[in-house]
């Protein structure tokens, strides 16, 4: 049985200013929880019908939409050392383009960096947990019904405000950015992405994992993965290279990765020419979601290649001691953000 891609992730929490209150948002079990919005579905329906979405739900929708966006992998972090800190000017632009309500976010707001939300898909959640937000990227689905009104399809956040912004400057965004308006879907998508990346490192890795999962063999975009192979190859190379450099002490540029499509964890081979090593790797896209994103890539000088079983904070993984060797099963545990081997 393959464990779920989020099994090795710790929950992530944050808070944000939502209206006059500070709300908590939680990412856990691969899904997004707007903790302080018990009737999230009802609010989403109202938002879809032209009402005001709350900042919490605004970000929830953005998260859902970007959960299969390959740009996340192009922009997001490559390793734990790679700090992605969105500059205030860019966040201000993104906030303006997305039509977020004044005062809720933005460079002048101390809460600007404190926005949090997460999650991608539902279906596994108990029905009793009404606070769970459900969004399936890329597919139209019925989200909820409210009285006589029902909504089917992908939500667009706050259409009334958003469409107004496209045509004119409404004055709540930072000055001097009016010329940016009038972009279109690409611009909106990038603005959403910027706002999500601004949530912080923990959410950046979780969003990257969601995207990688969506394009992996058992993800929702698996049928289209062939067309995305160049982007996935680059994403894999860019993330395997720092891990391999840490594992083997080789140059980052000496890692050549490609996508492994078959069963199993793939293959690794180290070739040496003139004293410099070059690592050739074939790994499945799933490795990004289930191994790299939770921070398991290198544990106690082993390169983890797959997760056998996981229930955070513990996991059983297959790992390589050296290139060319057979993988060994390790039991590992995360303590204070650091994974270490507990049993071999």
């Amino acid at each position: 049985v393959i464990p779920t891609w989020w099994a090795a992730f710790a929950p992530a929490d944050t808070s944000l200013r939502c209206g006059d209150s500070t709300h908590r948002l939680r990412w856990t079990d691969g899904a997004l929880h707007a903790v302080d919005h018990p009737d999230a579905e009802g609010e989403l329906v109202l938002a879809a019908l032209g009402g005001d979405a709350t900042p919490c739900l605004d970000l929830v929708i953005a998260w859902g939409r970007r959960s299969d966006d390959l740009t996340v992998l192009a922009v997001g972090p490559r390793s734990a050392d790679d700090k992605v800190t969105i500059p205030a000017e860019i966040l201000g632009w993104a906030t303006a383009v997305s039509g977020a309500p004044p005062g809720s976010r933005g460079p002048g707001n101390p809460q600007a960096r404190a926005v949090s939300i997460g999650g991608t898909i539902s279906g596994h959640q108990p029905a009793a947990r009404k606070r769970t937000y459900a969004f399936r990227p890329g597919k139209a689905r019925r989200l909820a019904s409210y009285g006589l009104a029902s909504y089917r399809g992908r939500l667009r956040p706050r259409p009334a405000v958003g469409s107004g912004l496209v045509h004119g400057w409404t004055g709540f965004a930072p000055g001097g950015l009016a010329h940016l308006l009038g972009g279109g879907e690409t611009q909106e998508a990038q603005a959403e992405l910027v706002r999500l990346l601004a949530l912080g490192s923990a959410f950046q890795f979780r969003l990257s994992a969601a995207v990688a999962h969506a394009w992996s063999a058992d993800g929702e975009q698996a049928a289209r993965a062939d067309r995305a192979r160049p982007a996935l190859t680059a994403a894999l190379t860019g993330r395997l290279a720092p891990a391999a450099a840490q594992w083997l002490d080789i140059d980052l540029g000496e890692v050549q990765a490609s996508i492994h499509d078959g069963d199993g964890w793939g293959e690794l081979e180290l070739s040496k020419t003139g004293g410099t090593g070059r690592l050739h790797a074939r790994m499945p896209v799933r490795w990004l979601a289930s191994v790299w994103a939770p921070g398991l890539a290198v544990v106690d000088q082993h390169l983890v290649v797959s997760v056998v079983d996981a229930a955070w904070p513990t996991a059983r993984v297959l790992a390589l001691r050296s290139p060319g060797s057979d993988p060994v099963e390790l039991s590992i545990r995360q303590d204070k953000g650091h994974w270490s081997v507990t049993a071999r």
């Binding site: 740009t71 992605v84 800190t85 500059p87 982007a231 540029g253």
Partner: protein, 580 residues
């Protein structure tokens, strides 16, 4: 050009993968660089600006208060005068007729003075402009030392900007060659741009400025305007002596291009020798003013005013005169009045020229054509363009780019264009970079050798041929060739195009999807350089420069337009008319 090359289907996936991996490499490079902190505005400058602004606002407020108090005073005076009589409208009653009479007198006086004052105003404006231009030219040298001193304060791009430049250059070329789509190019370059901005490696404001232009028509691609089938060209081929600002100007009219809703008369002007030696700074203004006053009228009694576009220098001006609306189909002739010249009659009912036009499939790949064009430029200039420090790995731009194309699979090690590049490098005594060291140099094509041998030729005929031919559609573009001007050291061709993509430009690189060349009946081959052009909504007006000078013994010239899949050739008899 001459040697056949393979025309394999482009390996799009390999090219895209290469670019995305290049983006990863460049990101890694950039992460190793320090974070970029934009320079702050200097405090004294900011303080001065704030002080000036507050003074300005104080003066405005004072003026407003003054006006308001005056109005309040006059209102209270009127009220105090009305109150004793008890008839509020009594004093105001006789005013309207008086006001009306005064207004009428003013109107008639204005009408009388209109003629002389308008000309006086024009003269004053002209004199003012002339004086302004003289002052600017006189004071320019005085400002030079100050400007030179303050040069170090100018904007210094963040070091990581070079990472973005490298990727954008390669992606731009590969996209122009059809290996990736424009959207993919945008995704890859935009992704790195955002990734760098998110890591504070480039100026965030640059990212925002870049977004301002996204989706604007400044970025080439296939022209949004479909090629118009109704585009037709009418040869004019007339010369007229005119006068601008007291100086002789010789106009040579080329062709009239008529499309749905527009008509353009192409012309060239030569300024007399006295005028070219005259360094009066206002001369350019005078030319523009005069050219904007060109008028026309047709045999149906319609008169036309239009606008001028184009430009020129000390000796020569290229002119596109846009008539609006275009002459109706029933019109038989058009009289065009040029500055200081008698009317020139343009026959609209002439039959189109019967020129031989052939169309055939292209046998060379776009990548080979691109590299060949760059190699010819290299051979003609005789020197390699080297980038700014660290911008392109310190290699000559062309060699660096060829290495990238080879690595991306856009060209292969046995590509004819790479072998020719190796031959060109050997001819110039330049070493190829290690990535290209395995390329076997080929012989340079005979055409290229002939072109280089004739590079210094200065015996080109002096004249013009009004070609006026519409070419069949080539890869979505339709072109009308206007006139060919020949001079001692080269020739130029005016072409108007619809459905024409704006070319990529990356620094000195000019990447076009189409390639113009020519061959005369003696076998001489001519290559076009970038020339100049204006682009708008898929329309383009091109001024192509052909090198070397056209052989004086040539009787016909094949003008060749090569697209991605199709090549069109038109054979033009070289019946030179007097031009300039």
């Amino acid at each position: 050009v001459t040697a056949a090359s393979e025309h394999a289907a482009p390996d799009r996936e390999r090219a895209e993968t290469y670019l995305r991996l290049l983006a990863e490499t460049e990101l890694r490079r950039a992460i190793a660089m320090p974070e970029y902190k934009p320079p702050r505005e200097r405090r004294p400058a900011r303080m001065i600006a704030l002080l000036a602004h507050s003074r300005r606002m104080r003066r405005r407020r004072a003026r407003l208060r003054q006006v308001a108090s005056q109005q309040a005073a006059s209102r209270s005076q009127a009220v105090s005068q009305r109150l004793p009589t008890g008839q509020p409208g009594a004093q105001a009653t006789p005013l309207p007729p008086l006001l009306r009479r005064a207004a009428e007198s003013l109107e008639s006086a204005r009408a009388l003075a209109a003629g002389p004052t308008a000309s006086m105003r024009r003269t004053a404006a002209r004199t003012g402009r002339r004086l302004g231009a003289r002052m600017r030219s006189a004071t320019w040298p005085l400002g030079q030392p100050v400007r030179r001193k303050s040069r170090h304060r100018s904007h210094q791009p963040p070091p990581a900007e070079s990472c973005l430049t490298r990727l954008a250059t390669v992606a731009g070329v590969i996209a122009a060659l059809g290996f990736i789509s424009a959207q993919t190019e945008e995704d890859i370059v935009g992704g790195l741009r955002l990734a760098l901005a998110a890591r504070s490696r480039i100026d965030a404001r640059d990212l925002l400025r870049y977004r301002r232009f996204r989706g604007q028509p400044m970025r080439r691609r296939a022209g949004r305007t479909a090629a118009s089938a109704s585009l037709r060209a009418i040869p004019v081929g007339a010369v007229a002596e005119g006068e601008v600002n007291g100086h002789r100007v010789r106009f040579s009219l080329g062709v009239l291009l008529v499309d749905q809703g527009s008509a353009i008369l192409t012309a060239r002007a030569r300024l007399d020798l006295g005028l070219t030696r005259d360094r009066e700074p206002s001369r350019a203004d005078a030319m523009i003013e005069a050219l904007n006053e060109i008028t026309a009228s047709d045999d149906l009694g319609n008169s036309y005013r239009g606008s001028f576009s184009g430009g020129g220098g000390d000796h020569r001006w290229d002119i596109w005169f846009h008539l609006s609306p275009p002459p109706p189909a029933a019109a038989r002739w058009l009289d065009v009045v040029l500055p200081g010249a008698p009317a020139v009659r343009v026959r609209l009912d002439v039959a189109p020229r019967d020129l031989q036009v052939t169309s055939e499939p292209v046998t060379t790949s776009a990548a080979d054509r691109f590299l060949d064009a760059q190699t010819i430029k290299l051979l003609r200039s005789g020197r390699l363009h080297r980038p700014r420090a660290a911008a392109l790995d310190d290699e000559p731009v062309l060699f660096w780019l060829a290495s990238q194309l080879l690595a991306a699979g856009v060209v292969t090690a046995d590509s004819a264009s790479l072998r020719r590049l190796a031959a060109a490098a050997a001819r110039l005594g330049e070493d190829l970079p290690s990535q290209l060291s395995g390329i076997q140099a080929d012989e340079l094509p005979a055409d290229w050798v002939g072109l280089l041998a004739a590079a210094d030729r200065g015996d080109g005929p002096d004249g013009m041929v009004a070609i006026a031919v519409a070419l069949p559609e080539v890869d979505g573009a339709r072109c009308v060739i206007g006139e060919l001007f020949s001079e001692a050291d080269g020739a130029s061709l005016h072409v108007h195009c619809a459905g024409w993509p704006e070319p990529h430009r990356h620094g000195l690189l000019h990447i076009d999807r189409f390639w113009w060349s020519a061959r005369d009946d003696l076998g001489g081959w001519y290559d076009s350089d970038d020339g100049s052009g204006s682009y708008r909504n898929g329309h383009a007006d091109l001024d192509l420069r052909f090198r070397p000078a056209i052989s004086p013994r040539a009787r016909t010239l094949d003008i060749i337009l090569t697209g991605i899949t199709t090549q069109v050739t038109v054979t033009v008899p070289l019946d030179w008319q007097e031009a300039l």
